[in-house]
């Protein structure tokens, strides 16, 4: 950009400069006062450590604790998460087994005998959904997790791997 082609600054342009300076101070205010959570980059790096590039992102649409009354009046603490994408909806519920592990019960819709992987920071647990789309995994380590669903052969050539963002069990 050359200066000679520009009109001389008008009162408006000067007002614009004042606004630009103020917006820049506002930006600094939020950068300082609302920093990105320090663990976020690690969570992102965990969730993109996938070999597949042909993937379909399954967005988190619901994450909430649910109360289930136990047999003898005890209450189990269960959390339900729902992930949505065009080809597939994944619903999972997890219940603490002990301080280090949870049991996961899940459903795929539309149902299909797909391969379901639950990736955690130390290992990947794999199972296959039944014809009704249900799957379950015992002894899943608590902490960061991600669900990856792959179509089982014979899958259409266009079938993409469905992947959730990471979440904390």
């Amino acid at each position: 950009m050359t200066g000679s082609e520009r009109p001389p600054p008008t009162a408006d342009a000067q007002g614009g400069d004042v606004d630009a300076a103020l917006l820049s101070e506002l930006r600094d205010l939020y950068v300082v006062g609302d920093p990105m959570p320090p663990e976020l980059v690690d969570h992102v790096l965990f969730s993109i450590t996938l070999a597949d590039l042909e993937l379909e992102v399954c967005r988190l649409t619901e994450l909430a604790p649910i109360e289930i009354a136990g047999a003898r009046g005890t209450e189990e603490h269960t959390v339900r998460a729902t992930f949505d994408s065009d080809p597939l909806t994944i619903m999972v519920e997890w219940t603490a087994l002990d301080p280090t592990a949870v049991r996961i019960d899940g459903w795929l819709a539309p149902p299909g005998p797909h391969r379901v992987e639950v990736r955690t920071t130390d290992r990947t647990l794999t199972t296959t959904a039944d014809a009704g789309g249900r799957f379950a995994l015992e002894q899943v380590p608590r902490g960061l997790a991600q669900i990856v669903v792959r179509s089982v052969e014979p899958a259409p050539a266009s079938a993409r791997t469905v992947v959730t963002p990471s979440f904390t069990l």
Partner: protein, 197 residues
């Protein structure tokens, strides 16, 4: 703690982005990680500016990077990566705003005070000038607070998307921006600590 950014300042920045992206396409995961470290803070502020709480903001940023992974080979303009990521994060944020709006009763009052999430942690603001600025921002209508936070991070925000977030017609975004900035300038001008700092 994530490693600090390795990106150079302009004018080499563009070249650095194109190179990192091409290494990422070749399967070098470290290159992708460098981009994540570089651009996630910017995406965080985009997501937060569109009114998302912190947990939803984190989720939107993860989704944005997964989207990049799935579009790694089809990105036409590597130098425009920052714009692509910002647009994707904004679209994801907007989607979440619409979902939340279906669940929560809409607030349509211009003068209503901001909700329980003030947008930043006041304990982190130790600088006197920033404290004064924040006090003035807090006195603005919620709609102004939202709009100014968006334009502080996006010089030319997507007007139609901003209109959806603010609940106003697209044609009202420009005038509202002007009015909100004027209100903020007036509040600051009336504060002796601002002129003195």
């Amino acid at each position: 703690m994530p490693s600090p950014s390795s990106a150079p300042a302009p004018p080499d920045r563009r070249e650095w982005i194109v190179d990192a992206l091409s290494r990422a396409r070749a399967g070098q995961r470290e290159a992708l990680a460098e981009l994540v470290v570089e651009f996630s803070p910017m995406l965080w502020h985009v997501a937060r500016a569109y009114g998302l709480d912190r947990a939803t903001g984190e989720d939107v940023i993860q989704t944005t990077w997964l989207q990049l992974l799935s579009h790694l080979d089809s990105l036409h303009n590597p130098a425009g990566l920052a714009g692509w990521l910002t647009t994707t994060a904004r679209r994801e944020a907007l989607r979440r705003c619409k979902e939340n709006r279906r669940e929560l009763p809409a607030s349509d009052s211009l003068s209503e005070p901001a909700g329980p999430d003030p947008g930043l942690d006041e304990r982190l603001i130790s600088d006197e000038r920033r404290r004064v600025l924040w006090e003035s921002v807090r006195r603005l209508p919620e709609r102004c607070q939202k709009l100014l936070r968006i334009v502080a991070f996006e010089h030319r925000p997507h007007v139609a998307d901003v209109a959806v977030v603010l609940g106003i017609p697209a044609g009202g975004v420009g005038p509202t921006r002007g009015r909100c900035l004027a209100k903020l300038r007036n509040l600051l001008a009336a504060d002796p600590r601002w002129a003195g700092s």
